[in-house]
């Protein structure tokens, strides 16, 4: 059993839960920084995460979510707004370009190395009882960033060979990135596949889960936890996600359509379920009382499932009130399984 499963099971034995909201951006207010600055500066980035760790002490912490790192390292045009995460706009792509992209060594990219170095600082300097995670863009989402989301969706049925080739290429680059992150001290790697939610279960298996399975195989006999995160309503995909060999699935909120106890009933109990308080409707827009109420209700609904970590359905936006995160953490910490 890997540490993530061990800790989750141990907490359940003690009638409590691990608590880990997907937060990064709210820490910017603690250090008076901006997304752009933190995503381009290792020390600034680490300062944000250190401040969050000191303030909330979650059981698992991740760097700022940034879905543009890998595509940017592969030379795709990227924009860097000051107060929003970097984005990769649609750009021209021909499958013939793949051979050129293949020659790019992402390990030499400054911004990607910056994330790796941030993880190294997290590993060295954050408390040992906080598990250090890292985000990596999933193979289909990276393919969609490279060729454009609409073209990637169309290719799933119109040009399957091309899409398969690109997803396989994305997987190889992702594997290289994960090795760098693990060497730097990442104990959990969360593969972000937001774009894959638009696929049918069969296409999801072909263009995402099959490649994630290959990634998992590399870490099967290690302590590294592989987490699969897909945004939106994934009820039709969750069996494919859990069946890909990952150690955990991270799922979106009930408002997006995800029923966590329903998920726990259909997937293997060996797979940890991470989720799923609404990051916007509840934590951004709600009151602290609303946060407490919804966290308690979710925890109660998961009482009979040992394989659960309390978290948010997706990454928290920058402007969430810090008192709502505090309410989330406190309710999660104080809760006892009946």
């Amino acid at each position: 059993m890997k540490p993530l499963q061990q800790l989750t099971t141990e907490a359940y034995r003690q009638k409590r839960r691990l608590v880990s909201p997907l937060m990064g951006f709210p820490g910017l207010s603690l250090t008076h920084s901006t997304i752009k600055l933190a995503q381009q500066n290792v020390d600034e980035h680490f300062k944000v995460l250190k401040a969050l760790a000191e303030r909330f002490h979650p059981d698992l912490i991740f760097p700022l979510m940034d879905l543009s790192v890998e595509a940017n390292a592969l030379g795709r045009y990227t924009v860097f707004p000051c107060r929003e995460s970097a984005t990769v706009p649609k750009d021209d792509f021909n499958i013939e370009d793949l051979e050129l992209l293949r020659n790019i060594n992402i390990a030499f990219d400054t911004r990607l190395r910056g994330v790796v170095e941030t993880v190294r600082l997290m590993s060295k300097k954050l408390p040992a009882d906080i598990m250090k995670g890292a985000y990596v863009t999933g193979p289909y989402s990276l393919a969609a960033l490279i060729m454009g989301a609409e073209d990637a969706a169309m290719a799933a049925v119109m040009d399957t060979d091309k899409l398969n080739k690109l997803c396989n290429f994305a997987k190889e680059k992702i594997q290289q990135y994960i090795r760098l992150l693990v060497d730097a001290g990442a104990e959990a790697v969360c593969l972000l596949e937001p774009t894959a939610v638009m696929l049918s279960p069969e296409d999801f298996e072909q263009y995402s889960a099959a490649f994630i399975r290959e990634i998992c195989n590399e870490y099967k006999n290690s302590d590294i936890a592989i987490i699969y995160h897909t945004c939106g309503n994934t009820m039709h995909l969750v069996e494919k996600m859990a069946g890909s060999g990952v150690d955990a699935v991270s799922l979106d909120s009930p408002e997006a359509g995800v029923d966590l106890p329903g998920v726990a009933d259909i997937i293997s109990s060996d797979v940890v379920i991470i989720g799923n308080i609404n990051p916007t409707g509840t934590i951004l827009s709600g009151t602290s009382d609303m946060v407490r109420e919804e966290v308690s209700s979710l925890l109660r609904s998961m009482d009979s499932y040992p394989n659960f970590v309390l978290s948010t359905g997706c990454d928290l936006p920058e402007d969430v009130p810090l008192e709502n995160i505090a309410a989330f953490m406190q309710t999660g910490r104080e809760y006892r399984i009946s």
């Binding site: 706009p89 119109m158 638009m198």
Partner: protein, 224 residues
């Protein structure tokens, strides 16, 4: 070929995403004519463009929208149906422009400032167009000024705001408030992964659609 049969052919092609003869999708219709060829033929046979629109295209996209809402088909299949519909629409455009066929109204849509995601917005635009509305797509990263200018030129339009990023919800709120301040009578609908019915109320919008079919239902309710 009988009129009904021709309309059924167009409907079948749009529902199944058969764009034209050269399109390889769906595999079981490879080498057969698609929405492009059948619409051309229907017009040549004297079928009215308004009938093609109402009896084939709108009906087909209604079925497609329902299948999508019921998770029987997914975004790729819906996109391909929309492409087939667009192929048919190309033949009908001259009739819309001449005024021979009336649209249900004008729908102005855009992804809000700070957000560059367009797939959801495009899908909604295509399905709404297939439902008989004229669509004015302002693109992505659209600020209040651009929305207000478009509304200023089309005061009877309905406006749709799209967002994918949670970080751009604040921009959606600002734009909605700017629109409502200047044009309180303009119906405003929102959609996108991070928004919901509560957020609609919070920002003063009039409608929220969880999917393209929801947008069509809302728009049609305005002219019912």
């Amino acid at each position: 070929m009988e009129k009904e049969e021709l309309l059924q052919k167009i409907l079948h092609c749009v529902e199944n995403g058969k764009v034209n003869n050269a399109a390889p999708y769906p595999p079981n219709m490879k080498g057969k004519d698609g929405a492009d060829e059948w619409t051309k033929k229907a017009l040549e046979e004297g079928i009215g463009p308004d009938e093609i629109l109402s009896e084939a295209l709108i009906k087909a996209m209604d079925v497609v929208g329902k299948k999508f809402s019921e998770k029987k088909i997914f975004v790729p299949q819906m996109l391909i149906s929309a492409k087939a519909m667009n192929a048919a629409m190309e033949h009908l455009k001259p009739y819309f422009q001449s005024g021979a066929v009336k649209k249900k109204g004008l729908f102005i849509i855009g992804t809000v400032a700070g957000d560059l995601h367009d797939i959801g917005k495009n899908l909604v635009g295509m399905i709404v167009e297939g439902a008989g509305w004229e669509v004015l797509d302002l693109g992505v990263d659209v600020n209040s000024r651009k929305f207000l200018d478009a509304i200023g030129s089309h005061k009877d339009a309905v406006v749709g705001l799209s967002a994918l990023l949670t970080t751009t919800m604040a921009n959606m709120k600002t734009i909605a408030q700017d629109i409502k301040q200047q044009y309180p009578e303009v119906p405003l609908i929102i959609g996108g992964a991070p928004v919901n019915e509560n957020f609609k109320t919070e920002i003063g919008a009039d409608g929220y659609a969880p999917d393209p079919q929801g947008a069509v239902s809302y728009l049609n309710s305005l002219i019912a």
